[in-house]
C-alpha cells in the first residue's frame, strides 16, 4: 500500500524542522557551554517550579495554615529563582567572558600571541573595548586555545553565579516574600471570618447584633 502524499509531505516537513533545530542547537551551543548552562537552567527552573507548586497544593498532610505560607513561598521561589538565576548567572558569565575577551584574564599562550601581534597598542590590552577575537591572525594563531580557556572560565562563572543566585540570594528573598504574603493572607482570612460574623446570610445586621447580644454564650465562630 502506498503512503498518502500528505503524510509523506508532513514527515518531510517534520524532518526538515528537526534538522534545522539540531543545526540551531549546534550553532548556538556547540562552542558555548556556559551559555547553554544558563539558558537550559532558566528553562529547568520554570518547569520544576510548576511541579513544586502543584506538590504543595495537592499535599493533604500539610495543614491549611502552612499551605498559606508554602504556596506563596513556592511562587516566590519560582519568580526569584528564575529572575535571579538569569540576572546573576548571566551577569557573572558575561563579566567572565569579557575578562577573557579583552585580555584582562589570560593564559600564557594568549599572552604569547598578544606579544606577537603587530600594530596593536599594548597598553590597550585588558581595557573594555579591546577584543582579542578581532585581532589579525586570531583564527590561525590562537582561536582553539582561546576558546578552550574561555569555555572553562565561562562554565566556572556560570556555576558560581548559579550557586550564588539559587542557594543564597533566592532563599533569602523568597522567605521575605512568603512571610509577608502569609501575614497578608492570614489577616485577610481573619477579616473574612469577622465579616461572616458581622453579616451572616439571611439575617439583617441589626437582628444579628440582637442575637449576639442575647445568645453570645452559644455563638460558635
Amino acid at each position: 500500500m502506498k503512503t498518502p502524499e500528505f503524510i509523506t509531505d508532513m514527515l518531510k516537513k517534520l524532518a526538515n524542522k528537526g534538522a534545522s533545530f539540531k543545526d540551531t542547537v549546534l550553532k548556538k551551543y556547540g562552542e558555548q557551554p556556559g551559555t547553554m548552562l544558563v539558558h537550559t537552567g532558566v528553562l529547568g527552573w520554570i518547569l520544576s517550579s510548576l511541579a513544586q507548586v502543584a506538590a504543595v497544593a495537592f499535599n493533604d498532610k500539610i495543614p491549611a495554615e502552612q499551605k498559606v505560607f508554602l504556596i506563596p513561598q513556592e511562587i516566590g521561589d519560582a519568580a526569584t529563582n528564575i529572575l535571579s538565576f538569569y540576572i546573576v548567572t548571566q551577569s557573572v558569565k558575561s563579566l567572565a567572558s569579557k575578562l577573557v575577551t579583552t585580555g584582562k584574564l589570560k593564559n600564557p599562550k594568549i599572552s604569547a600571541f598578544l606579544e606577537k601581534v603587530k600594530g596593536i597598542d599594548k597598553s590597550k590590552i585588558g581595557t573594555w573595548d579591546f577584543d582579542i577575537t578581532k585581532l589579525a591572525g586570531y583564527k590561525t594563531g590562537i582561536k582553539d586555545d582561546f576558546i578552550k580557556f574561555k569555555n572553562g572560565v565561562d562554565v566556572y562563572a556560570s556555576l558560581a553565579g548559579s550557586i550564588a543566585s539559587c542557594n543564597i540570594i533566592t532563599p533569602i528573598i523568597r522567605n521575605k516574600y512568603a512571610s509577608d504574603k502569609q501575614k497578608d493572607v492570614l489577616a485577610q482570612m481573619q477579616k473574612d471570618k469577622m465579616k461572616y460574623l458581622q453579616a451572616p446570610r439571611g439575617i439583617s445586621m441589626n437582628k444579628y447584633l440582637q442575637n449576639v447580644y442575647a445568645k453570645h454564650s452559644e455563638l460558635k465562630v
Binding site: 506538590a55 495554615e65 508554602l70 589570560k106
Partner: protein, 175 residues
Amino acid sequence: MVSVSSINNIISTASSGLKKPNVFKRLYNKLPNWEVTSDKLLTHVENFGKKCTSAHQRGILGATALLTQPFIDARNKDVDEKTRKYSVARTIAKIIAGTLTGVAIRYGCIKAMNWKPFLPSRWQSLTKDVQDQYKNAMGTIVSLVVMLFTNFLIDAPLTKFLTNVMTQNQKGDKK
C-alpha cells in the same frame, strides 16, 4: 537668542562626553591584568569547560543547596516555629528529590544523544569537543522535555513523601 556656535559647542561637548568611558568601564580598565600561569589550574579549567555537563551542574547546585538553604530557612524569624520546621523539611525534601531526579535524567538523556536521530547532518565533520558540547546541549534540552513529566510523576510525589517523613519524625520527637 541661541547662536550657532553655542549649539556647536553643546554638540561637541555631548559627543566628547559619549566618547569618555563610563564609570563602570573606567573601573574595569583600572583592574590589573592577570595571567594564569599554573599548569595544573589551567588544565583543570580547560577540562572543566569541556567535561562539565548540565548533570554535573545540577549535582553541584544540589550539594551546595543542602549546605545553605535549610540554614537560611531555619533562621527565618518572620514565621512561627511550626511553619519554620515545615519550611526546612520541605526545602531539604525538595533539594534531595530535585537533585536525584535532575541529575539522573540529565545524565541519561545526554548519554542517549549517541543515538543517530539526534545527531546533526554534518556530525562527522565536527571536532570531538564540539560533538561533546552538542550532546550536552541537546541532551539537556531533551531532558527538560522528559522532566515536564517526571517533575509531576517523580519529583513532586518524592518531595511530598520526604516532607511527610521528615515532619512525622518531628512530631514523633515531640512525643
